[in-house]
Amino acid sequence: MVLSQPEPQGSHDPLSDPEVILSMSHITKRFPGVLALNNVSFDVHVGEVHCLVGENGAGKSTLMNIMSGVYTGFDGQILLNKHPVTFHHTRDAQHAGIAMIHQELNLVPELTVYENIFLGREHKIGRTVLNRRSMRRAAEKLMSDLGLDIDTNRHISRLRVGQRQLVEIAKALSLNARIIIMDEPTSALSDTEVQYLFGVIRNLRARGVAVIYISHRLDEIFAIADRVTVLRDGQVVGSTLAQHMTRRQLIHLMVGRDLEVLYPKEQVELGATLLKIEHLHLRQGTSHLLKGVSLHVDKGEIVGVAGLMGAGRTQLLETVFGVYPSRAVSGKISFDGRDARFRSPKAAIRRGIGLVAEDRKKQSLILERPVDENATLAALRQFMVLLTLVNQRAERRAVERIVRVLNIKTPSIKTLVGNLSGGNQQKVVVAKFLLANIKLFLLDEPTRGIDIGAKAEVYTLVGQLARQGTAFLLVSSELPELLAVCDRVYVLCDGRVTGEFKRDEFDQTVIMEAATRFADKLGNSKHQISVEQDTN
């Protein structure tokens, strides 16, 4: 472990010796098939912003879930104010002053802001009657303390994601939280909202609240962190004051290797145009999700789609895959020279398009069925004899071969997919479409939540398949990954293509600029509107 001694002097802190409020030592947590945390020690000081960084699957969320009492079974010890504590429940952690704000927010959309803040601990007149006025007043006080401008009488469903996050923070404070954990709070926020959130975090810090901030975004980390701890593959690889760390060091700690080594790019001879999309529109209800997208993918080409959350990247892939009813879609799609406005995923697969969906567990796998049944689900037709009877021997042979080819680590092909590690699960999804003879892969965040080694393997596989003429349309939020593996990148913003870059034009800053071309303007104007409404 590369541990540098915590420096006694923090520029922000009036106290000369920041006190350790919480200390986790030698935490080890194992899930079926994966060692999520390996002997991790982690300290939190009073009134600091402690950034926890690491690649997906490094163990950040697991560590925080242990701290906030979500996971109760683990080895190791937690000391709170120097006393050992055991949390049996998130409630125990809350009582101890630890609040976690999850990526998927825990608010009831149908209730108002103040009702959510006091959910489960309502103010009452006597024993039964709600004292709404007292709750509203308390909620408003919380808001003004935090410098927030949110109408406490609004329903959560009418707030934007950024505002919901702020409500969660207010709620945590009303629970007298001394430690607030924020798990990637900015993933759905615009730049302005991020700045606003940072203001709130600095306010919290000034009041002595420790904030543990989980993020991938290096700029944010250097903007807000007092201390940085880096996790890699379930281990702490570094922990130091932010001012003592450079960007380069941080990347090196996070990744452990250089990206070029991780994702070697092979030169592939491109073939004819495989997928061509012209003026594609997608409307759902009143929202216009894709606004005239045009792009093309050639045989053997890996084309990236960059953009922020909500830019329409997932919808683009799903539209090509035939997920949406045809009345919602307009525009031209052709595949392999023929019309390809698919009416169902079934039709898309039959023509040779496969979608590796964003959420592996919810959209791609049947966790409680074995590896072999998952692997052949899209291709069972090939193994049918006599109408619908499955030739199980041929099936087994095919699955065993693909498990070997993709190097899927599984005890047997009869193991339940839910018991494999994230990377191997993702490979099963790839196997499913490989068996179905796919010519074009639509990959939606294919490396989310899998460890770095598995990521490299997935991209190596992508490279190999591309050499054989398979084409890829790849969506990823991790720009370095996209730039490392793609031949070309389109940038989507608010349902439009706002940029197209060839490999020799790749530049992270320019691409980010294209990705936020509309978002910032829109975000600003929306923000303005909502603030005006709030003050009414």
């Binding site: 030592s25 995923p345 049947i366 049944e373 339940l416």
Partner: protein, 360 residues
């Protein structure tokens, strides 16, 4: 950094005992319906009244009766399992039994004039057993299709559509029969005598024909679930519908097919029911849907879909049947039997809470 304290290392034997205990638990849950069946069987033997040194429960006649009584629940449970596997539920099967039993009796005994569009009136008089059975099974498929199509087309939970069908099928049974039971007699001018086979017992008068039908249906469906793509898809859809759709399965069609098969088995049970009672009555088979669901659930199926076996469902039907038989032999009144059945269902579902995740 951090205060280092040694974590207590768990002693090795204690951990070994833990894993052995866990393995045993997994084993018990894997075959839970068999263990349940054995326990209920032993209880029945133990509590059975003994007359002239003979265990009444174990007498050939009684076991044969148990098999006969179980067969309708078993047939219904086979169909019900398919719907529960895809994450649905079919509450209409009891009413469908009443409707199909009534229809069977009507077709066998009376002269009907059915007016069809374009074709005109068709006179159906004293249909043969084969014709009756084919028509009634077709009716079952049609009802199942209605359940499935309505649920899928309008995205209504199966709970609601089949609850509606529960009422509709019962109502039609009353309308078609003018509110009175239709007797089946095999005298001259009556029903086709070959229908009476369904009432018989074969092999020295031991094995009831309905039990054979149940066994045949169960074996066929076991085969279908285990060896065909359709069976694979049923489990896949129950396990994760979104993933199934994105893997190119025709989810809607497969779900409707599951409902149709459930209707088919309900009609089969209705035919057996009418043959057993020698009548088709619109007031029969009330609450049979609960027996079927109970059998499936006791057999270890998950109401969330994707988990469950035919063997389990049949074992569940036998557990219910043997329990009923045991209580009857001990002269426990039927109302108490209902209470016991309810407790058993809750117990079986509550038990699933302790099911280790490793169990398939």
């Amino acid at each position: 950094m951090g205060t280092a304290t040694d974590t207590p290392i768990q002693s090795v034997p204690a951990q070994q005992i833990k894993t052995i205990g866990r393995r045993a638990l997994i084993f018990v849950f894997r075959f839970q319906s068999f263990f349940g069946l054995i326990i209920v069987f032993l209880l029945a033997v133990y509590f059975s009244p003994i007359r002239s040194d003979k265990n009444i429960f174990l007498s050939q006649r009684n076991l044969s009766n148990v098999a006969r009584d179980v067969s309708e629940t078993g047939i219904l449970a086979t169909g019900q399992l398919l719907v529960i596997l895809i994450g649905g539920i079919d509450l209409s099967v009891g009413s469908v039994v009443a409707l199909t039993a009534t229809t069977s009796a009507l077709l066998l005994m009376r002269t009907q004039t059915v007016t069809l569009p374009l074709i005109g009136g068709i006179e159906l008089s004293h249909l043969s057993a084969e014709q009756t059975i084919i028509l009634v099974l077709g009716l079952g498929l049609l009802i199942g299709w209605c359940n499935g199509w309505t649920s899928e087309r309008f995205r209504i939970p199966a709970f609601v559509t089949t609850l509606a069908m529960l009422s509709i099928a019962r109502g039609i049974a009353h309308i078609w029969s003018d509110n009175i039971a239709v007797p089946i007699s095999y005298k001259a001018g009556g029903a086709d005598p070959s229908f009476e086979i369904l009432h018989d017992r074969i092999y020295n008068n031991i094995i009831p024909v309905p039990a054979l039908i149940m066994a045949g249906g169960a074996v066929i469906m076991m085969f279908v679930l285990r060896y065909t793509a359709f069976g694979r898809y049923i489990y896949a859809i129950g396990g994760n519908q979104t993933a199934s759709r994105l893997s190119g399965l025709a989810v809607t069609r497969i779900k409707i097919a599951a409902f149709m098969l459930c209707g088919f088995f309900a009609a089969l049970a209705g035919i057996v029911h009418s043959a057993q009672l020698n009548q088709g009555s619109p007031n029969e088979a009330v609450g049979y849907e609960l027996n079927a669901i109970a059998a499936v659930v006791i057999g270890g199926a998950s109401l969330n879909g994707g988990k469950g076996t035919i063997i389990g469902a049949i074992a569940g039907a036998f557990i219910l049947g043997i329990l009923n038989n045991m209580l009857s032999l001990n002269n426990v009144e039927s109302n108490t039997q209902l209470v016991v059945k309810g407790l058993l269902v809750v117990g079986a579902v509550a038990l699933q809470q302790f099911r280790p995740p490793e169990v398939e």
